[in-house]
Every structure is written in C-alpha cells, then in structure tokens.
C-alpha cells in the first residue's frame, strides 16, 4: 500500500511540475505586463518601465527561457514565487487568502455532501414515485443555473428582506465586520456573513451529489448480492443500508475527492459576488493586472488541489473496494 502511494505521489509531482511550467509559458505568451505602463498617459520613461519589469522578472525583452530559469530557481531554492508587477511578493499575498477561501468552502462542502447523499438515497428508494420526480426536476433546474445568476438572485432576495424587515440580518459583502473583543458577537457576525455564500455554494453541490448518488444506488440496488440478501429474508431497508448503500458510496467518495479543485474554481464566482477577498478574487485581480507570477502561483495551487484529490480518490477506492488490487 505504502509503495503504491509513493509511486503515485512521484508520478503526480512530475505531472504538477510539467503542468505548472506549461502554465508559466502560456501566461508569459498571452499576458502583457508592459501594457500596464504603456496605457498610462503620458507613459513613464521606457528605461524605468524596463527596470520595474526586470525587478519582477516579467520583462518581455528578456528571453522567456531565461525568465523561466530565474523563476524556477527562486521557487526551488527559496520557495519564492516571485513578485507582482507592483513589486509585492506573491507568497505573502496568497497565504492569508487560502485561509479565507478554505473558511468559505469547508462548511458548504460538508453540507452539500450530507444533503446530497441523503436526498440521493431517499429518491433512489422511491424511484419514479412523485417524490423522486419532483426532487429530480428541482435538481435539474438548479444544476443548470449559472453560479453568478444564483448568487445575484440570492443577494437580491436577501437585500429586499433586509429592507423589508428594516434590520440588517444578512451581510452581502466580506467575511467580517465586527471588530470588538466579544467572541460570541464575533461568531454571530461571521455567521451573518457566511450564511449567504454558503447557501450559494451548497445548492449546486447538493444537487450534483443528489443526482450522482441516486444513479449509483440504483445501479447497486439491483445487484446480485442485494437480491441474495433479500432472498435470505432481509427487510428491504436493511438490505439497502447494509449491502447496496455501502458499495454505492465508493464512487461518491471518489467524486468528493476529485471535487476539491472544482470547489475552488466554483468559489471564484461566489467570492466575486460577495466581495470576499479569497483566492478566487485574487486570481481575477492577477489576470486583470497582467500579473504572470501571481496567476501561475494560483494555477499551481489549483494543480496541487486536483492532485491531492486524485491521490485521496486512489486511497479511498483502494481502501473501500476490495475488488481493486494495487498492482
């Protein structure tokens, strides 16, 4: 088992290295930090533009391979992901934002797994009954709504509700606004901020887990071993719980592991709608500022998330499914 995981890790590290390097070249080819300065009227002297671009190692007059070499040396020897065009270090900007994003994403993920799997099981047992049909139509509807639309509609409803009641119940921007020392008030304040973004992120997660869990359970519910269990006299509910549900949770666990990266990209929209200063909004800002180093660092972080998910999925399926052999 350990050997298998190590082998996988080694493979993933190589993949991550190549993918990140490719992103670096892609970003260098498509982003033009010089235009940040040239678009000013009057633009600063060319010599000073070149100097500040050189300081951040993003000067397009230096061959890209030389810049890549410097960038890579910085990361490998000093864990330094470079500077933004405004000369602020990337490392210091990313770390606190990861924390904000994780704060936002964790609750939503846990809630959507719990709700999604329960609804999926509920509807699978009642296949083609009215409960199943109704919940499925609702799920299909929410599945296709773009996150931006969902977020903005919820903001609109919340603001109208605040105005209707005449008191601020929901906050639609940021994560904190309380600055006193009372821990209870601080927590209440966090909740007031967190409720709406969490709803926006929980709904799409819930419906996708609902639909997939329903399919997986329906696949296993008609399996031979469940029929055997029924034939031996096990009640339907018990047969489903003990035999069908267990195997159907394996692909769901794999899905959860793989969703780590997609949660992160889904949060980009939510963070923009609710003005939360997380990783997603940092990425949008980096793209807008032609910040090559910043966007590559974010892409690398996204890659780490994907591969962590893939590794977790490997381990989950090896652990849960006795049919998988690790050779």
């Amino acid at each position: 088992m350990i050997k298998y995981i190590l082998k996988r890790c080694f493979n993933y590290v190589i993949m991550l290295f190549i993918a990140t390097s490719m992103t670096y070249f892609l970003a260098s080819a498509f982003m033009d930090p010089r235009s940040n300065y040239m678009s000013r009227h009057p633009h600063p002297p060319i010599a000073s533009i070149n100097r500040s671009l050189d300081l951040a190692n993003i000067n397009d007059q230096t061959p890209v391979i030389v810049r890549y070499g410097r960038w890579l040396t910085g990361i490998v020897t000093r864990w330094n992901w470079g500077l933004s065009p405004e000369q602020s270090p990337i490392n210091g900007a990313i770390a606190p934002r990861i924390l904000a994003s994780v704060q936002l994403v964790t609750v939503a993920t846990v809630l959507s797994i719990i709700f999604g799997v329960s609804i999926g099981v509920y509807t699978a047992i009642r296949q083609y009954k009215w409960q199943d049909r109704t919940l499925n139509s609702i799920a299909t509807f929410f599945l296709v709504i773009p996150t931006a639309v969902l977020g903005l509609v919820i903001v609109y409803l919340a603001v109208s509700m605040n105005n209707g009641i005449g008191q601020r119940i929901f906050y639609v921007t940021g994560l904190h606004s309380y600055s006193g020392g009372n821990p209870f008030a601080w927590f209440l304040d966090l909740l007031q901020h967190l409720v709406l973004p969490t709803i926006v992120m929980t709904i799409p997660g819930t419906v996708s887990y609902h639909l997939t869990q329903r399919t997986y359970l329906l696949d296993t519910m008609n399996a031979d071993y469940v029929r055997t269990a029924r034939a031996k006299g096990l009640p339907l509910n018990k047969a489903i719980r003990r035999h069908a549900l267990r195997t159907s949770l394996i692909p769901t666990a794999v899905d959860v592991a793989f969703s780590i990266a997609s949660i992160f990209t889904g949060a980009v929209i939510t963070e923009t709608v609710f003005a939360i200063n997380g990783l997603g909004s940092y990425f949008v800002q980096a793209i807008g500022d032609n910040d090559i180093n910043g966007s590559v660092a974010i892409a690398a972080f996204g890659g780490v998330c994907t591969l962590t998910g893939a590794l977790l999925a490997d381990i989950f399926s090896a652990w849960l499914d006795p049919r998988i052999r690790l050779s």
């Binding site: 892609l26 033009d32 599945l143 296709v144 603001v159 949008v284």
Partner: protein
C-alpha cells in the same frame, strides 16, 4: 449515424429478435403486412413521448427565434444608447428597461443571447469532434500510445481549465474576444471528455467487426472514422447537447468576472456583471438576463435528457413489456 452493428433495441419491431418476425427466410424480404419502424422514427417518437423534452425543445426554438430575428422587432440597437432614458424601468418604449448608460435592455439581451448561443454550440461541437478523434485513437492504438496518451491527458487536467481559459483570453480586446473565448473553451475543454470516450472505446475495440477490419488491412484512421466514432454516435450526440449547457455556463462565469466578452460587444454574462452594482436601483438590468440564461440552459438540459432517453436502448421510455 451508422446503422451497422448497433446495440439491439429489444423492441418487437426488430425482425432478428422476434421468432415470428415478418421476414420470409427464402426471399429475405419483408412480407407486405409487416412494417418496420426506422431508427430515426423511433428516436423521434420516443423523444416526443417525454413532455419535459418537448417543453425544452419549444423553449429553445423560441429563444432561437428571438436570437435570429429579435433585433428587427425593436427600433433600438444594442450599441445605440438613448440618452433621454437613463435607467428607465420597463415601458412601452423600452420593453425591458434601459441600463444606466441608456442602452435598451431588450436589444442587449437579444445580442447577448446570440453570442451565448453561438459560443455554446460552436465550442461544444468542436470539443466533441476533437475529443472523439483523440479519445478513440488513444484507445485504438493500445500499448505505448495509450499509456503515453493517458498520461498526457491526465497531465492536461491537473491545472483547472477555468484558470487556463481565463489566462489566454485576458489579452483579447473588444470585437474578437468571442472567437478567443470559443478557442479557449475548446482548447481546454476536450480533455476530460476524451478520457471518457477512451474508456467507452475500450470495449468497442475488442468487437469482431473492428478486428475483422484491422486484419483486412483497413488503415487505422479509416477504422476510427468508419467504425469507432459512428458506434459512439449516441454518446456523442447526447454529450454535445449537454456540453452546450456547460459551455454557456463557463462563458457566463468568465464574462461575469470581466474576463470574457468585453464592451462594446455584450453577452448574457457581461449583462449580469453590469447589473450587479445596480441591483437595488435598477433590478431589471439583472433580472431579465438571468431569466433568459436560466431558460436557455434549462431548455438545453431538458432536450439533452430527452435525447438520452430516446437514444439509450436501456431507457425506460420505450415502455415495459409486462
């Protein structure tokens, strides 16, 4: 779609499966009292048996109608602001109101709908074509090609494609940006899909007719084109339709973030972005594009689900023999 070697549909109309089929074994011609139902007729009939699929189709046809001729129904153009009506609520003159800049919302939505539709359909079709070729080729050649190909596909999936698309379209300027958006969505959208198609090809490549063609010396490219891809036809059709939904969603997300379609051009996502800041003073700027977007994605999804049921031989819309 090829009619050769499709999966048996298990319907009584199939002459090979029913013992008392209307085929005379001597002449091999159908008897006069026997009428065979064509595959396409069957698909169409099954599709229209689902009310939700019909609703989806009607919705999409209406949206297509408005996207094509809707701009002739109003005197306002999307890029011609009316400075006498800034932030006007919906009225007889401006049917869906105006933006803070005085642009007519109806004209903007028609333009945005056309953009979203063309981006969605073109990139989804392009993704299917690329994924079909690469996915089947990787599975067909087996051995080292398959190993290296799968490794490369996995590697391309490491960095979330959303970030890469945002990266390459950020530099595009107004006018061309929708072409760049299609390019970006296609260039990074096919990878995961090619992986799925490769898995489906694994069982297909072991079939006798593939083996026979191979040993007869048919070139690999022709086997892929003639045998492998047509036999994945149903999957490809369904996924192309459902791919439109995800392409429209990605386009909306990128434009909403200000990275996709930029002024002077417009799309539904760009309109959402404009409406975001004036959500309280001019809610119609946000509400109408949202409704159109939901109608668009929901109708395509309903059509996709209907097609899946119509084409999938294991679907229950064929009815049960009880």
């Amino acid at each position: 779609m090829s009619t050769a070697a499709m999966i048996p549909t298990g319907l009584p109309a199939d002459p090979d499966s029913a013992p008392n089929s209307g085929v005379d074994p001597n002449t091999d011609k159908p008897r006069s009292d026997f009428k065979r139902t064509g595959r396409m007729t069957l698909y169409v009939r099954r599709f229209f048996r689902r009310p939700s699929a019909v609703v989806g189709l009607v919705m999409l046809v209406i949206l297509l109608f408005f996207a094509l001729v809707g701009s002739h129904l109003t005197k306002w153009a999307y890029d011609q602001p009316d400075f006498t009506a800034l932030s006007d609520p919906p009225s007889a003159d401006h049917w869906l109101g105006t933006t803070t800049g005085g642009s007519d919302m109806y004209a903007l939505i028609i333009r945005g709908l056309g953009r979203s539709l063309s981006i969605g359909f073109i990139s989804s079709i392009a993704i299917t074509i690329i994924a079909a070729f690469i996915g089947t080729a990787i599975a067909y050649f087996e051995g080292a090609v398959e190993k290296v190909g799968m490794w490369l596909l996995d590697m391309l999936l490491v960095v979330p494609s959303f970030l890469l698309i945002a990266l390459i379209i950020s530099g595009s300027t107004g006018g061309n940006d929708w072409i760049w958006l299609i390019f970006g969505l296609t260039a990074f959208g096919w990878v995961g899909y090619a992986r799925t198609l490769r898995t489906l090809t694994l069982s297909l490549r072991e079939r006798e007719y593939i083996k026979a063609a191979k040993y007869m010396g048919v070139p690999a490219f022709r086997i892929i084109l003639r045998h492998l891809i047509p036999n994945l036809g149903s999957v490809l059709v369904i996924n192309t339709v459902l791919g439109v939904v995800s392409a429209v969603n990605s386009e909306t997300a990128l434009s909403f973030l200000g990275l996709g379609i930029k002024a002077p051009d417009t799309s539904l996502g760009t309109l959402l972005n404009n409406g975001q800041s004036i959500i309280l003073t001019a809610p119609w700027v946000l509400l109408f594009p949202s409704i159109v977007l939901i109608l668009l994605t929901f109708s395509v999804q309903l059509i996709g689900d209907g097609l899946r049921d119509a084409i999938d031989p294991y679907s229950r819309s064929a009815g049960k023999a009880e």
